[in-house]
Amino acid sequence: MSAIEKLRNIDRRFIFIAIALAVIVPLLFPIGLPVTVSPSVQKLYDAIEELPPGSKVLMSFDYGTSTMPEVYPMNLAVAQHCFSRDLKVVGTVLWPEGVSLGQNALEIAAEKYGKVYGTDYVNLGYKVGGMVVIQAIGRDIREIFPEDFRGTPIEELPIMEGVRNFDRFRLVVTFSAGDPGVREWVMIAQARYHKKVGAGCTAVSAPAFYPYLDTGQLVGLLGGMKGAAEYEKLLQSQGPATAGMDAQSVAHAVIICFILFGNLVMLITKRKTERRSL
């Protein structure tokens, strides 16, 4: 096998090593590349900025541990933004693992702004059923969530006073890594109950939700770690996503280099075979 042939059928483990290095090195030695804010992120930020203090936001933690590195940073950033604006956050969970992940984000954000559990925020916990749960919230939230995740009856939580269904929420934000997630919230909370819905999702699934953004069915969308880093920039805080952006930049550059290299090798082989056939 010639050298060119070998390069053409490069052992994919070399590619894997290059990607691993491209991720690990910038994490250990940050470069500090500047982040620019895209319109979809700005829109969600503005939607929260526009809410009068005291408004209630429904936040749903619909992700799991595997997608935590991507979705958790945006969850944390948006929770911090809500508390900094004195908004009240009611958390719901459609993925079992989301209970402790969402609670963790709320607790960290609440501590920063001196917010109290039960008065300024609450986590109603996980309910199985996906879309059925969202429909049930629309009819009677107390029926589906009679108590919070700690087992405290909803009547004893000051934040839930007067909350019966979607009516009292000014905004719904879902942090979603799949199904049930963004689509279900848009279908029920937005389409049926005409609520403003914002979303944060993994970078892979973000392109599928751009149409909703365009039609106004989503007020804003954070896609992957980039979306979270942009949000952190708007909040002027250095969070976990900003730290990861260098690694992502370098990894993207490495992938592009591999693609260009692959094409170069292909062109050389093509020229060689053409010459041979001459």
Partner: protein, 208 residues
């Protein structure tokens, strides 16, 4: 008869669900939700079948000592341990179940998800080749979006993120919408075939 009964149930349930969509008053209004809850209950009980299947297959493998039977032992021990710990001590913080979940399940799941980064690299190395005009367009769009979505792109050319955003918002959305409309019609047409009993292979039967 064995085939007729499920087909009749499907027809009645499907037709009622369509009608119920247009009638808000009870008992039609809450039907969809009630059906979904029924499904959840059935699916939860079906989990027993799944676990039974796991135990049967791996039990067989251990008793025959077929290749890799040691892994089957690990699987069954893991299944038993998590069930006993979860039922016995609960799943709250500072329980053994919680500890194992956070220190085994989470890192293992995250590792599998992280493999995606490596596979994206190897797949794009193979796939993005300038073979035709369309492939070249695809390659150019991929490079612009990949660079435009990270800070590096902004450093190279400040307008690159805007170009990437344009690609995502317009050509990408147009394509996605076309696919979504096709899918929606496909789902409706498939549902009709199933409700009317024309498509019945999912029941295990043939065309007859």
């Amino acid at each position: 008869m064995r085939r007729q009964v499920p087909l009749i149930i499907t027809f009645i349930a499907g037709t009622i669900m369509i009608i119920a969509y247009f009638i808000p008053r009870e008992p039609f209004g809450g039907l969809r939700q009630r059906f979904s809850v029924w499904f959840l209950i059935i699916a939860a009980f079906a989990l027993i079948l799944g676990i039974g299947n796991l135990i049967k297959i791996h039990g067989k493998r251990i008793s025959r000592q077929s290749a890799g039977w040691g892994y089957s032992v690990v699987l069954l021990v893991g299944l038993a341990a998590m069930s006993v710990l979860g039922i016995g001590w609960g799943i709250e913080r500072s329980t053994p179940f919680h500890y194992l979940f956070w220190n085994m399940q989470i890192p293992l799941s995250a590792t599998m998800f992280a493999l995606l980064a490596f596979f994206v690299a190897s797949a794009s190395y193979r796939a993005f080749r300038i073979r035709s005009f369309e492939a070249t367009l695809l390659l150019a769009a991929a490079v612009v979006v990949m660079l435009g979505r990270v800070p590096l792109g902004n450093l190279l050319w400040p307008r690159l993120p805007a170009v990437a955003n344009w690609i995502m918002t317009f050509p990408n959305t147009a394509g996605q919408r076309a696919i979504m409309i096709g899918i929606a019609l496909g789902v409706v047409s498939s549902s009709l075939r199933i409700i009317l009993g024309i498509e019945r292979t999912y029941l295990g039967g043939g065309q007859q």
